[in-house]
Amino acid sequence: MTKDPLHTKFCEMMGIEFPILAFTHCKDVVSAVVNAGGFAVLGEAMNTPEVIAADIKWIREKVGDKPFGVDLVLPSTAPPAADLNELLAGIPQSHRDFAAEIKKKYEIPDPKEEVDLHQWGGLNQEISRAQLDVILEERAPVFVSGLGSPAFIVEAAHERGIKVFGLVGKTRQAQREIKAGVDVIIAQGYDAAGHTGPIGTFSIVPEVVAIAGDTPVIAAGGITSGRHLAAALCLGAAGVWTGTLWLASRESDSDMIIKEKLLAAHSDSTVYSTCVSGFPMRITKCAWTKEWSRPDAPRPLGSPYQMLLSADYIQAANDHRREDLMMEAFGQGASFVTSMKPARQIVFDMVEEALATFEDLTGDDE
């Protein structure tokens, strides 16, 4: 093979060695991956503008001039403001009773702290705007919109030397964002962790590549190995977006129970269910998901009621570190995460396996 198959146009654009993007909420993982020759994106949607500014400075101190990204969630719809007590009162008694039955069956203690209901101030356009302004002020190298269109901010970002990436679950979203001038499109498939869309990675990636022209497309959803990386490049992607892969890395600040769950996980260890948030979400199987999948279970409520209902359970599971109760968003590629390695080693192992895969395909062992 004369050309390095891993040196893609995304590598050229970013001046990096390997087309591997790590999405993480842990700054140490970001610095380790970036310093290993990959690219990393810090999820900051739940943080205040002050924390985001401090994190950008911290990462810069660790990686110097190497590029990295900051991810936010941009709402594309604005729901009405709501009173929490009114929302709680809207949960039907039948569903409260079912949640109480689960609590009794699994001897789930009360949460140690008052349930915070996972509030983050209720993400809205005001909060998103303040978070975005910090990224512009700090001139983070890359802004990634993990949800919602970044089109309105592309010009302002480019004027400041900031590249803009957009993550999409539908081809028409990609088309719109490319037209608006985003630098990179991340096409995410159903295999991904969390609130993912219904289209499979193997379908959405080549479909987006077909309309992307010169804009690099990054494949996302279920990608955890060098074979996945090689396959994504064969689909026309210029790199891979990986999240679950880093949860069990040495640098990750995930709970050790979650790390051990990930090492033991396989492709059937997750469910795609509305029982946690009211929206389809890929999450690890646990007592909560098992009970809600019973044929006699009530139908999960819509949003936000189901999330409010599951909040007690989630907080109690985490407060008491109950392995049988805890849940985490894992992608379907979880089975390939088999040991707790430094992030740097994960990058190198992925690269080595991808290169070996290409050599197998071409019969070239040079």
Partner: protein
Amino acid sequence: MAEQRWINAVRGFDPEMAGKQAECDGGGPVVGTRLASRQEFSGVLSGEYMDHGDPPWRWYLMVDLQRKPAGYEQDSVWCESNSIFLV
């Protein structure tokens, strides 16, 4: 009407958008939680808009909702302009 906090927003009316059938892709917050999820709406644009901040982030009001997430009880929603697809 779906009321929201719109600080420093400029209201307006775009007659060219009024009455158009549209879909809105993307997502938003799960109210009262720290999660966000993909959410899809379809309905009719009223023509009302809000421009928020600088550069302006434009939102249109969608009414007469024909498709909305389970649990969404209102009959209107503000939609970000770049996430709207006219159908």
